[in-house]
Symmetry: C2
Subunit: 347 residues, 2 copies
């Protein structure tokens, strides 16, 4: 373990102690110890009083300090929203590498895009004494984290912002990337462009939609609302949305796909169409350059997102006491062919 990680428990926060709990509950230290350690000899009423004090003070047994003292390894938690989304592979690995450089273990979990599950998982990781958390949030209200943060759990949000609390945050420039993608399609002659995105309550989906609308408006193009579809990224939903836009009364000649899950299905749908349709996808993905045509993408630097977030986290753990920071990582348009296809000649 590095001195850095070891410094955590000394420098961070002013966690309430068992003594504070005992004082608040009006019981002896030994009673608190019994409740905390699940030992017998406490009446249900006293246990409830102690539990209330624990909750009110945000007390957690300081396992972490004990683990550090005994030379065990520090750990940080990473909460994803989907274990099977390849976008999170390089992000997770980058967080893991930074953790390892600091002598800390990384523990992951997934919210499966369920806010209740995110909260349950985050609190379970806190109860298991992680020293810090990197969170890709599914929830839009993170006030449940305030007692943990106050008790010294360093927390950084990545990919999506925290809801209703101030916190360190690292985001891709979803708005700018989306605007550039759509401007690119417009520059190649398209006027009717569809956008298929993730669920609108997800920050990145909303930002990419805003980028789409801004680029269209900037070129003086009115958006037909049948060209915009936000929702699940399940293949069936995306296939249905793409087909509706391509076969509708005012058919689109190009698609902008809001993330790699959408793009992969769009590639399949377009491969079955009689004539080429332009496509730009948000997120790069493996083999995007080897399908025909190769897929033009707005690449996010997932590894840099993870590395930046983890580095921020360890700075907090080392004792940096500055207001919450927000960093934005630029995206990069990678033209490969699919985004440079012109509209049909008869347009």
């Amino acid at each position: 373990m590095t001195d850095t990680a070891r410094g955590t428990s000394r420098r961070y926060g002013s966690r309430p102690t068992m003594k504070d709990v005992a004082a608040r509950a009006g019981v002896g230290l030994k009673t608190v110890s019994r409740v905390v350690n699940g030992e017998p000899g406490v009446t249900p009423e006293t246990e409830r009083r102690v539990q209330d004090a624990i909750t009110a003070l945000g007390f957690r047994r300081n396992d972490s300090a004990r683990i550090l003292r005994k030379g065990r390894t520090a750990s940080i938690g990473l909460v994803l929203e989907d274990l099977a989304d390849p976008f999170y592979g390089p992000l997770s690995r980058a967080v893991e590498e930074v953790a390892r450089d600091h002598g800390a273990l990384l523990i992951n979990g997934s919210s499966a895009e369920d806010p209740a599950r995110e909260q349950e998982l985050v609190l379970a990781l806190c109860a298991r004494r992680v020293d810090g958390l990197v969170i890709i949030p599914a929830a839009d209200d993170h006030r449940y984290l305030e007692p943990e943060i106050a008790a010294g759990v360093a927390t950084v949000f990545v990919d999506r912002p925290a809801g209703r609390i101030e916190a360190d945050t690292v985001l891709s420039d979803s708005f700018g990337g989306a605007r550039d993608a759509v401007a690119h399609l417009i520059a190649h002659g398209h006027r009717r462009i569809g956008f298929i995105g993730d669920q609108p309550r997800i920050h990145t989906a909303a930002e990419r939609l805003r980028g789409y609308r801004t680029a269209m408006a900037g070129a003086g193009l009115a958006v037909d609302e049948s060209w915009v579809s936000l929702g699940s990224t399940a293949p069936d939903r995306v296939r249905f949305a793409a087909t509706a836009m391509l076969d509708g009364p005012r058919p689109v000649t190009a698609l902008f796909a809001g993330n790699n899950r959408v793009t992969v299905t769009a590639v399949r749908v377009l491969a079955e169409r009689p004539r080429p349709v332009a496509l730009v996808g948000f997120d790069d993905f493996e083999l995007a350059d080897l399908v025909t045509p190769a897929i033009t993408v707005v690449a996010q630097d997932a590894a840099r997102l993870g590395r930046t977030a983890a580095t921020m986290l360890f700075r907090r753990l080392e004792g940096t006491e500055i207001p919450p920071q927000r960093q934005e990582i630029p995206t990069r348009l990678v033209p490969r062919g699919s985004g440079e296809l012109p509209p049909p000649a008869d347009e």
Copy 2:
């Protein structure tokens, strides 16, 4: 939480108690409690005596039982070897779904293919009171887990077997799948077939090599050792190995790639060659059907591997007391084009 998950602490194992530790160390219960909870008032010598007793008995504070008693959530740990390998996406998600069906949280970690790190991570998860573990092992000696298993942590190995301990295991049929893949290439006229695999100490790599050799021998074909290359799956290494086989004195006309990391690089290398080379890859991967030619693969059912392992784990947690089981999941050859290319006409 389900009754199933809740049943864990009652039915499983005979964990040593604080009383056992106190008796062995020759100290009072309160002293043990102080040491375990990191409270002051214990001399270094006494602390060491208690620690020795804790180690000797394999004692762990029974946080888990306490968590269950207080209605908190049970958890299981999943140890992967690479966070960025897409093969583990559906496997992880399947384990997560089974865990959720049992009201339990899933916590992940990665060994990054480092045996020491695997052990560190597994013991860290045990110290954080996971109720069970699903492990894709990097190590080949798991005797370090024996005290944990004896103390009641249910453990299932998946994708690769446990080393030097008896344990529940779920594996793909790596040998049979590899043999079928190579036999398929032989049936399409190939006689000089290369095999590029992962590091030979990895069980799946060794089994797939055995399948390759068995198919070649079965067709009466001698293997030129320049056609076999095992090692890292890093793109540079795979590229070098493939190029050497394709440009060597007895050039191969077909490649069998030992896993999806190898296949993806092989696809890139072959796309740059002047004439087509047949390819079969072990593991299916996203877009394998959309590159040109589409890639013939031996598909593993990663989701079924994960589901089977997790189901086995929860059966153990429910109290099933049978000897360790080994399940093998069949693979499936998916012909798509690249594996059906004939050798050059002048062969």
